[in-house]
Assembly symmetry: C2
Homo-oligomer: 289 residues x 2
């Protein structure tokens, strides 16, 4: 119990990095990357820094189109995160979702899509507790049901989705970002239209609301401001950042998934079940100029 | 698509609060509370504020005893979070876990315990993807296996556990706090000895390390400082806060679990599977003087 550990230390650092660390080998140099098109990138400026969002027009074409139009109108600039539940979601916009509606058009539900073999679906877990099967499509965690032939994006940390009222087609402007353990029970009930690919540490700095008020932050109380949202395609090409994410359809990523399922390293004294939580598999991002 | 939503708005606010919000009724006044004994409370002062930790000496007696002794020695005061992986863990201490060992005693593995009917286990999910059964014991998420008759604490967001090297009995001083999607594959492989019951927003402000370095923050780079850790029992009684958490063995909490499983409200157009992720069930905390 009391022996010195010097003998361990050299090898242990590496062992811990690779095991307890759960940092996969592709964090090194063998990652295959996919470049994200500027048309799918939005920069959100918050007081703590910048979050970069990849929009998903394949799953949510109407929502992305309206979001982009609102961004161009400057709709969000200067608005707040007015409802923030620690461990759950940070919701921002003009608050119309919670009170007087604004005049923006309501959006059709884009909760799921018909399955098509055109989706580059890399399977992760079958079955998963919340879906017959999970996987990745273009870096987004997804679920699919091959019986009903439906596919949908899942509520993992960092996704951005449209808030709505009871009706399925009642979202319009106000969005939420998942900042806690994946609320997967919301899958197929709300329109996920993007994910934060960089800057979740910035999003996590958002001021929380009181839990007894369901996270609602009263006017006059400190709220985190959405200083500005800008679309990459509206910036001069020279000012855009290059955003690359792990190519989740690559063979290399497939190997990562297998290795994470097996948990082979000697660090594991209790062998975990050979399952993966799709929301716990990291998808790396590389930002350049 | 373009009709105004005024007609919806009065009823919708409440509907959203109760459904999308996923904020259970017990966030109101019918919660049954359990007072946490001062002997199980530690205050961690970080630059962004205070995190309050409930220690769990029932599951990790040796680890809690050593942690408390180290706190009293001032071991952690002024040390840093030196390895922080966004979406995974924030690891703090003197870095001995990563390099030269210090002279503190190593701890025995306290990964799981024999099942006993003395545990006030409130079942949540059976089976869960990572355990034959999950539930709560005194506000802590837990797993159990009635075949092997073992019970353990699970790696949910906010838990604090001892880092270790490859050997099971190699933890000693450096700890990590889970700051992302529950890394449940670590269950039964590390000693969880507490959980953050208040101030996860403060913990989330910890400076992240670069992902290409597995979150390691080089010396000289900005790191978040652990300013001070203090045990409640070492403070004058008049200065202690009263800390109460949801009594997870109460009938009221059992009702919450059932209602979360059923997802009855009209908000749900797609009925979610009747399952619960134990790490996604909120356990409320009430802090007083």
């Amino acid at each position: 119990m009391n022996q010195p550990r010097n003998a361990f230390c050299l090898s242990l650092t590496l062992a811990l990095l690779l095991t307890a660390a759960a940092v996969p080998a592709w964090a090194q140099d063998d990652t295959e990357w996919r470049s994200v098109d500027a048309a799918s990138i939005a920069y959100m400026q918050l007081p703590g820094g910048e979050a970069i969002i990849e929009l998903n027009a394949e799953f949510a074409p109407a929502t992305v189109a309206q979001f982009k139009r609102l961004v161009r109108d400057g709709f969000y600039d200067g608005l707040d995160f007015y409802r923030v539940v620690d461990g759950f979601v940070a919701q921002g916009g003009d608050g119309s979702d919670m009170g007087d509606a604004n005049s923006e058009p309501m959006l059709p539900a884009e909760f799921e899509r018909p399955w098509s073999a055109d989706f580059a679906f890399t399977s992760v877990q079958k079955p998963d507790m919340f879906a017959p099967e999970t996987g990745f499509i273009d870096g987004f965690a997804a679920g699919r049901d091959m019986q009903s032939r439906k596919v949908w994006l899942t509520h993992c940390p960092g996704v951005i989705a449209m808030a709505r009222n009871d009706g399925p087609d009642t979202g319009s402007t106000d969005f939420y970002i998942v900042i806690g353990q994946a609320p997967r029970y919301l899958d197929r009930n709300l329109t996920i239209f993007g994910r934060v690919v960089s800057g979740m540490d910035v999003v996590h700095r958002v001021i929380r609301g009181p839990s007894e008020a369901n996270g609602m932050i009263a006017e006059g109380e400190p709220r985190t401001n959405i200083e500005k949202i800008v679309l990459a395609e509206d910036m001069p090409a020279a000012e855009r950042k290059s955003v690359q994410v792990t190519d989740t359809s690559s063979a290399e990523f497939g190997k990562v998934l297998q290795s994470r399922k097996k948990r082979g390293p000697p660090f594991f004294h209790h062998k975990p079940p050979e399952v993966l939580d799709v929301c716990q598999v990291p998808v790396a991002t590389r930002i350049g100029r």
